[in-house]
Symmetry: C2
Subunit: 319 residues, 2 copies
């Protein structure tokens, strides 16, 4: 293993920053987490990150690259972070440049949903595929797109924002002024709200605590019709946004991850049905709808894998 | 001009088939049209096409390739036509193979909206661009997508069907079972229906004839508020579908062609406004919304250009 290059993957979240060392798709050491909200500005947090990296390198001298997944818009070629969702003090921060100065290693900075997509494509469910859509369902809804064996980034490298696409041109106005954004229907909080409203309308009011996606899944698994219906509702809305991806991009697979995807077949079965009912044959005959391989570790795995590839290593072949 | 390879472009429509000879982006001869509806089966029409090609080649011996744009789903690598919208007798027809047998020239078969996108990208408004969406607005709504300097075709080469994407997950069920398809809101016939309803609801009923897109444009240009409002309504719906393309693909330009686009600034001004109001900064700061260069000739120009490129000629460089 000594001559196989390792990489550090950093998953920068709104609550904490997780860092780990990746060896052929496996996280072999994880560093203590950094509490994101302890830092009001970017620079001290970047310094702390450099310290974490330095500590990890003591145990793993063959580390060759560092990848960072960020919860916001990133200019991929320069590694400039435009701004972050839910984190103060990050506005036009040249993260790649600063970390390269501090660590003297090649650094790659990418959007977190793209890292998740990358993990699934190179190390997970999408391995070997050429055309795939990856979507992550949690508090937010993110996505990444691979076409013709290439990650799609677009003109300003911000492509893949599936959660911001609309399913209703007259829907409520979202974070960016967009009407009817998918994320505003099937984000974690919105699922809870949907459940609260549904139970209330049936004269069986429940608490917010009882309406978390996990609790609804448990109730549905026990056969409760209202809970099953809530997942069908979520699936129908998700199908609408995914059908747009299919008509536009004709992928061979859609890979679904994130906490909400833990509903499993409660979500996947009605989704599969609703999606296929809205596609013509050449769009659906080879289409696969698949659960993601990775859970919470997707960000570290994807960021580290991408960083190795950007540094010139063939991750398909050896790692 | 004798050593510059020419190509024949064929624009296969539901009403007629148009064929022309392309020289550096210009149609230098057009053949008599073939009436599509005179043929109940594919083979006799293919024979007639071969005759038209043979006639054109008598005047232009340097023709090196033939491109055909088809109104339906095509398997690009093999040139197999899955099926056509509005034309009988076309079901799994190996058009490329048959025409190559009959003409002994390389033949390329592509979806018509992709041909239009190709024309704009290689010879029109999108020249030199790397990431663009082309949309054509007429009886149907079609599209073509170029990303990273490559036409996007997807797993079964049927990508780009913008008209089938939804703008309302609870909308009416369309041709392929899809709910709320854009085409079912802003196709030619639907604009007329919208105008009929709008005028009727205002107590100023008009005839179907008076409600064609052309007539509404004329009324709007004369300052009639109802007509202006109809175009604003169409623009808002179109903006919704195009905003999805922007969030997903982050293009540098959206190029809009087809008969309905002749409404000009009546459509483009409210479209630009509604689209930008629903995008965050990195998605819109360099985004351009542009009218197509080509009108009815887009199909011939795109098909011929694509055919030349497929035959190994560098159309960016010389033609």
């Amino acid at each position: 293993m000594s001559d196989i290059p390792l990489a550090i993957g950093i998953d920068f979240g709104g609550t904490s920053v997780k860092s780990g060392v990746l060896y052929r798709g496996n996280i072999i050491e994880e560093a203590p987490r950094i509490d994101t909200q302890n830092y009001e500005e970017a620079e001290p947090l970047i310094q702390e990150l450099a310290q974490v990296i330095s500590d990890l390198r003591k145990n793993h001298p063959t580390i060759k690259a560092i990848g960072v997944g960020m919860p916001g818009f990133v200019d991929f070629p320069t590694g400039l972070v435009h701004n972050l969702t839910n984190v103060e003090g990050w506005h036009r921060i040249p993260l790649k440049m600063r970390l390269e100065e501090l660590t003297e290693l090649p650094v790659t900075v990418e959007n977190d949903a793209n890292c998740m997509a990358y993990a699934e494509w190179k190390r997970g469910t999408g391995r070997g595929m050429k055309h795939l859509i990856a979507i992550t369902l949690g508090t937010g809804v993110g996505g990444g797109i691979i076409l013709d064996g290439k990650m799609i980034r677009g003109a300003n490298s911000v492509a893949g924002e599936l959660g911001q696409t609309t399913i209703d041109h007259q829907g409520p106005r979202g974070t960016y002024g967009n009407l009817g954004a998918l994320e505003d229907y099937i984000g974690n909080r919105e699922i809870t709200k949907l459940a609260l409203d549904t139970y209330a309308s049936k004269g069986e009011p429940k608490s917010k605590e009882e309406c978390s996606p996990e609790k609804i899944t448990k109730a549905a698994l026990l056969g409760e019709q209202t809970a099953i219906g809530i997942w069908e509702d979520v699936a129908t809305k998700l199908a609408s946004a995914l059908m747009n991806c299919c008509w536009l991009l004709n992928p061979e697979a859609i890979i679904i991850g994130g906490g909400v995807a833990k509903a499993g077949s409660l979500l996947f079965a009605p989704l599969d049905h609703a999606l296929r009912a809205q596609l013509s044959r050449p769009f659906k005959e080879n289409l696969r709808i698949l659960p993601a391989r990775f859970g919470n570790e997707a960000g570290i795995v994807g960021a580290a894998t991408l960083a190795l590839e950007q540094a010139g290593f063939d991750v398909d072949d050896h790692y």
